[in-house]
């Protein structure tokens, strides 16, 4: 999962664009060049701030990448864009919050964990919140597939897509009833203090936390899919369901496992989002889900490395736009980049075969 690959593909796409050299592509290349030049100027003027922004982008990107993987895993195996996935992420943040507030299932199990709690309690609380949210979202995702998507396995794709949108509304309303329409604060458990000495470059404990959770998850996922029997079965089902069944793979169970994995990652992402940003809200899944879906498409939907690269890129582009263009313009910049990439590479940065390539290990 190298960003080097992505840059290479990106520059390749741009060069290809130049060779076509219609006026649109020239314009596009000019825009990208201008943007990069402006960034370069900023980087030279204040390298500390630039680096800090890059690191923030990386962290945001990691949170997005975990959600994006859920989109891409599911797309890879049943070619469905699971619109409810972002809302599953939201439920993850709610579950995490509930665990931290000590009131799981309405039971006052323990005192709420807050910024004042001892370090050990905080660490244990965060770990438990992560594990519970991952389990809950994993199972929720499996349940959604069983109830809403599996019965439509042989229906036209549009039917499943609309059902997914319906599931998204249902989950959002569950969130609305559960925590109300307003933003809910997350306890401030992880320090926002800078780890690095001085304040030229800012890399906070929060940032470290996100990377420390994300990286093992990515490594674990990659190992699972490449090397385990179940992971190979997932790739086989993604490539040819009938052939997979013929060699003895239970296709339905394998699809369930895929949803389980996607849900687990969304759960982890939800808790991290809350702890990182200090808030969550019932419709956070819509915006984050949209970014994550964009990341999956940008990287090449169905391609796991693509989802990670796409997530990181969107995180970084977003944080750069926040700083140098203005927060109000961030979404526009992100989607402009998406459009630009898709014009030159309709299958995304790393997705060479798009729909037919399945949820393979990608080109990791």
């Amino acid at each position: 999962m190298t960003t080097g690959d992505a840059t290479k593909t990106l520059s390749g796409a741009l060069l290809e664009g130049l060779r076509h050299s219609s006026w649109q592509s020239r314009l596009a290349v000019a825009v990208v060049a201008l943007m990069l030049a402006l960034l370069l100027v900023q980087a030279v003027q204040d390298p500390g701030q630039f680096t800090s922004q890059l690191l923030i982008g990386l962290t945001n990107g990691a949170i997005i990448a975990l959600i994006a993987l859920g989109y891409t895993l599911v797309y890879g195996i049943i070619e469905l864009i699971n619109f409810a996935h972002g809302d599953n992420f939201m439920i993850g943040s709610f579950v995490g919050l509930t665990v931290l507030s000590g009131t799981l299932f309405g039971l006052g199990l323990f005192a709420p964990i807050s910024g004042d709690s001892g370090t050990i309690i905080k660490v244990a609380g965060v770990l438990i919140a992560l594990v519970v949210a991952m389990a809950a979202c994993g199972l929720l995702n499996v349940g959604i597939e069983r109830i809403a998507y599996k019965p439509l396995r042989n229906s036209p794709r549009l039917a499943v897509l609309i059902t997914a949108i319906g599931m998204s509304f249902i989950l959002q309303n569950v969130g609305l009833v559960w925590k109300g329409p307003a933003q809910v604060p997350f306890p401030d458990l992880i320090s926002s203090a800078n780890i690095l000495p001085g304040d030229a470059i800012v890399f906070r404990w929060k940032d470290l936390f996100v990377l420390a959770v994300t990286i093992p998850l990515l490594v674990g996922l990659s190992y699972f899919i490449k090397n385990t029997k179940q992971g190979k079965a997932m790739r086989a089902v993604a490539q040819d369901k009938e052939a997979a069944a013929m060699v003895g793979i239970n296709v339905n169970r394998t699809i369930s496992v895929t949803f389980l994995l996607g849900g687990i990652l969304a759960g982890a992402s939800g808790v991290m989002y809350g702890l990182f940003n200090g808030i969550t809200v019932f419709n956070v899944g819509f915006t984050q889900g949209l970014y994550a879906f964009t990341a999956a498409v940008l990287g090449g939907i169905g391609n796991l490395s693509g989802a990670v690269v796409g997530g990181l890129l969107i995180g970084i582009i977003g944080s750069m736009a926040d700083q140098y263009v203005g927060v109000r313009w961030t979404s526009i910049v992100i989607f402009a980049v998406l459009v630009l990439v898709l014009v030159f590479r309709p299958t995304g940065l790393l997705g060479d075969r798009s729909a037919t390539q399945g949820g393979g290990s990608g080109r990791a």
Binding site: K229, K232, A233, R235, A236, Q239, D240, E242, A243, A244, A245, M246, V247, G248, I249, N250, V251, Q357, G358, G360
Partner: protein, 235 residues
């Protein structure tokens, strides 16, 4: 008792009826071939036996057990494997991984079986790390057969194993099929190439628009004037 008994199966694609009461038997150790023109229902018969397209009516008895309701993924542990029409290899996986998938349900050592496949198809050994989708059509066909063998099936269903192969390779593939049969695997073979199929088969069935219209020992079918005219390309 026959290894496989298919009794009067009816199969549908949606509302379209593809099989109208097909019956056939395969004895242990035989090579039985199913011939018929395009769209006759040969592939559908194999899919129905294999549980990929469960028949709406009729019985499939394998090894003394009724299996017509069994899901496809359980067939391999009962002893049925298939090299399907269109090969259906896992094109983004390596040759080795494809063969491993063929032994998916097994938990014992599969190295011996892999060696056996490589003995039959030395070509595959050379390409063990290659992504299967990048191999030539013939190599992919070998892989599809090899993958099916990895489960040590009692019954091997072969759907047009000679499709798209050069004439030399066709001959070789049929030699290999005979070899596999001699090593103890019963074979139900679907072939366009009826001439060669009837040469290596013990018995044959002729399928027409979803029903069996003729069945006889292979030697007899080869001499049948109607069969010669319709399927062996002689006027």
């Amino acid at each position: 008792m026959a290894l496989l008994e298919v009794e009067n199966i009816h199969s549908f694609y949606g509302h379209i009826q593809a099989l109208r009461g097909v019956s056939l038997t395969v004895e242990e150790g035989e090579v039985v071939t199913l011939i018929g023109s395009n769209g006759a229902g040969k592939t559908t018969t194999l899919r129905s036996i294999h549980g990929v397209l469960p028949p709406k009516q009729g019985r499939v008895v394998f090894d003394g057990e009724e299996i017509q309701g069994t899901p496809a993924h359980d067939m391999i542990s009962k002893g049925i494997a298939q090299s399907p029409e269109g090969r259906k290899i896992f094109s983004r996986m390596t040759v080795r991984e494809n063969l491993e998938m063929g032994a998916y349900h097994r938990t014992d050592d599969i190295r011996e079986d892999m060696d056996r496949v490589f003995d039959l198809f030395p070509r595959l050994k050379e390409r063990i790390k290659q992504e299967a989708g990048t191999m030539s059509g013939g190599e992919q066909q070998m892989l599809a057969i090899g993958r099916a063998l990895m489960s040590r099936p009692k019954l091997l269903l072969l759907d047009e194993p000679s499709m798209g192969l050069a004439p030399v390779l066709v001959e070789r593939i049929f030699q290999i099929i005979q070899e596999i049969n001699k090593q103890g695997t019963t074979i139900l073979l679907v072939e366009q190439n009826a001439n060669v199929a009837l040469e290596i088969a013990t018995r044959g069935y002729v399928l027409e628009t979803g029903a069996v219209v003729n069945s006889a020992p292979a030697e007899k079918l080869r001499q049948d004037p109607k069969v010669r005219e319709a399927y062996l390309g002689e006027i």
